[in-house]
């Protein structure tokens, strides 16, 4: 009886899971459809057309115009990874250093400054975007990689997250290292960083995902096609190729697949990270 109940529970969840995946299943199928087939109810194409991917990647000409697409999708792909990698490494580095100062070093005013950090975490990003954009205009960084990366490289949230994990480490580690004559830099690099690996990996994943998917900041920062990241590129794609759903879906598939792979590989760290941070993501 109990076994049957367990089995029925599995059955229900399998169907719920299928319903969750249905949009993705449609997306995969649609990305292989020839244009006239898009309007049909069928999930799969009758005559699969892998060429859609080649067209989006500019390896084949667009069949409507007979020449390659105006957009540089491969470049957008590169930009997304490039910007996300820079933001992630800078943010993890600066956050780890600040978290070290907030958790392992004693100095006057420490808790006051930390409270200031916490306070700004409550402020909506929208409040900051308008003046930040003006600052970028003044610095001449609009429409540059630096402008895309720099303001995202510092995070109160990241500092908070890493401080929480560093503060739980026993003081005796630092003291032992100090007695052995280690400098603060050595303590930071050789003792604290290796012990905070979980926190660092969590922050790295969250930051990478957040930057890879970020929309507002690149939208206002980027003017030129060759600086676009994937989300912004998809927007112009939608505007100019709105009728060619199969191409949009091929582009979408190529945006989503790396994320699915990242998630399946890193799922353990992601789950423990969400529980650790409780916020963001």
């Amino acid at each position: 009886m109990r076994e049957l109940y367990t089995f029925l529970k599995h059955l229900l969840l399998v169907f719920l899971a299928l319903a969750t995946l249905l949009p993705f299943l449609w997306m995969m199928g649609a990305s292989f459809k020839p244009n006239p087939e898009i309007e049909r109810l069928a999930l799969l194409p009758e005559e699969p057309q892998p060429r859609n991917f080649a067209v989006v990647l500019r390896l084949a000409p667009d069949s409507r115009t007979g020449r390659p697409m105006d957009f540089d999708f491969p470049r957008w792909y590169f930009n997304s990874f490039f910007v996300a990698a820079w933001v992630t490494s800078l943010q993890v580095m600066t956050s780890a250093m600040a978290a070290f100062a907030f958790s392992r070093l004693q100095w006057r005013g420490r808790d006051t400054v930390f409270l200031l950090y916490l306070g700004t975490m409550m402020i909506p990003g929208l409040v900051l975007t308008l003046p930040n954009y003006q600052i970028m205009v003044k610095l001449g960084l609009v429409n540059t990689y630096t402008g895309l990366i720099l303001p995202m490289a510092f995070s109160a949230f990241g500092t908070f997250l890493l401080r929480q994990s560093m503060i739980t480490l026993p003081r005796s580690y630092d003291e032992a290292a100090e007695i052995d004559g280690a400098t603060p830099l050595q303590i930071f690099l050789d003792v604290i960083l290796p012990l905070s690996r979980t926190g660092l990996v969590t922050l790295a994943i969250l930051t990478f995902l957040g930057t890879f998917q970020s929309f507002f900041w690149p939208l206002v920062m980027v003017k030129d096609d060759h600086l676009r990241t994937l989300p912004i590129g998809l927007l112009s794609f939608q505007t100019d190729y709105g009728q060619q759903t199969e191409l949009i879906m091929a582009a979408t598939v190529m945006n989503v697949i790396p994320l699915i792979i990242l998630f399946v590989i890193m799922q353990k760290q992601i789950v423990s990270g969400i529980q650790l941070g409780g916020v963001k993501g």
Binding site: M27, M93, N132, L234
Partner: protein, 366 residues
């Protein structure tokens, strides 16, 4: 020695602190100050201090109230998303292990074999679509039977993890009133039953579930039905239900001592009573955290959907406060007014958080 310590701390802090000052603290002050000026990028008038003008203009702006209403209306999806996540978490937490240790693995293998065989049969007999679904079902059920809750949690989390421009464009296609998957399915199903039925207009419609209310004329009320706002809410529920909320609820459930439920069971409490009087009160801190995060997110939400799906339309019905700020700041270049709206939004976020915090505290000490 003491000076040395200060210097060391400052060196570690410096990179982050500089960035924090340049891109957080200074912008906050600039935007607060800017909200009291006529700050604009159309250099018609010199920069001037205008007192509370931007704020009084906002409260007289009919559109501000309309967009505030839209924001609040979209947030009506939050209880569904949170309640759904809770139900799913309780269900997933309940355990999926069969009593005999290897039975799950065997059943999983069985499901895989059945799905593969029937999938290929369907494929060869000319029903590729059914074969596709069968393979998907086989994949999920074999993994689910063999590995239990982890499999389902992974699948449910995917929409949240991949959420962004790509999934929004995907849903834009699903919602196409003429040939999107949703209306296509609804209309084909109706046709099979012999009913003439035209699916909802989704993103092209100003209808809403509260459309029967006597709303002001400029609220573009299209009457009762499913419209653009419902489309955005449904997509939001799909994204959120298995996302971080589910993971946080699962962590909360795992931290409840099992003795509590066992004791209640011995006292004769049924499933619902145990949930109502043991599990739910124990989860209160988690629920509280999730509600606060969701409200903060909801108040600031709707920008990507508006920009990618609807341009805030039709007739402004999907323009939320965040999209309104974007329009003022980046399209009309009226930075002073945009900043003032952003600060009112912040005040809303802040006061709701504070209220929740006080209320949540009282609730927790019960």
């Amino acid at each position: 020695m003491k000076l040395q310590r200060h210097r060391t701390a400052l060196l570690f802090l410096a990179p982050n602190l500089l960035g924090f000052l340049a891109f957080s603290l200074i912008p906050v002050l600039l935007s607060l100050a800017g909200s009291f000026t006529n700050w604009s990028l159309r250099p018609a008038a010199p920069l001037e201090f205008v007192g509370w003008d931007n704020y009084s203009r906002m409260f007289q702006d009919r559109n501000f109230w309309f967009y505030l209403y839209n924001t609040a209306y979209l947030m009506l999806a939050l209880p569904l998303a949170i309640g759904g996540a809770l139900a799913l978490a309780v269900f997933l937490h309940d355990g999926f292990a069969f009593r005999r240790a290897r039975r799950g693995a065997r059943l999983g293998l069985g499901a895989l074999v059945i799905a593969t065989v029937s999938g290929f049969t369907l494929l060869l007999s000319g029903s590729p679509n059914l074969a596709y679904v069968t393979f998907a079902l086989g994949g999920i059920s074999s993994l689910g039977l063999a590995f239990g809750a982890v499999t389902y949690r992974t699948v449910f989390y995917l929409p949240h993890f991949t959420a962004g421009a790509a999934t929004i464009l995907l849903w834009t296609q699903l919602y196409n009133p003429n040939f999107g998957l949703i209306n296509n399915t609804l209309e084909s199903a109706a046709e099979a039953l012999g009913i003439a039925y035209q699916g909802p207009g989704w993103l092209t419609s100003t209808r809403s579930l509260l459309g029967f209310l006597p709303l002001p004329a400029h609220f573009s009320n299209g009457g009762f039905g499913l419209g653009a706002r419902e489309a955005i809410m449904l997509m939001g529920i799909w994204t959120a239900i298995g996302g971080n909320n589910l993971i946080l609820f699962l962590a909360g459930l795992a931290s409840i001592p099992p003795e509590l439920n066992e004791a209640a069971e011995i006292d004769g409490a049924n499933r619902w009573q145990r949930f109502r009087h043991v599990t739910f009160p124990q989860l209160a801190p988690t629920t509280f955290l999730i509600v606060v995060i969701s409200i903060i997110g909801g108040l600031q939400g709707g920008f990507e959907q508006a920009r990618l799906m609807t341009y805030g339309g039709p007739a402004g019905t999907t323009t939320t406060l965040s999209y309104f700020i974007y329009l003022q700041g980046f399209e009309r270049l009226d930075l002073g007014y945009g900043s003032a709206i952003a600060w009112v939004l912040f005040a809303l976020v802040f006061s709701l958080t504070l209220m929740q915090w006080r209320y949540g505290k009282r609730d927790g000490t019960d």
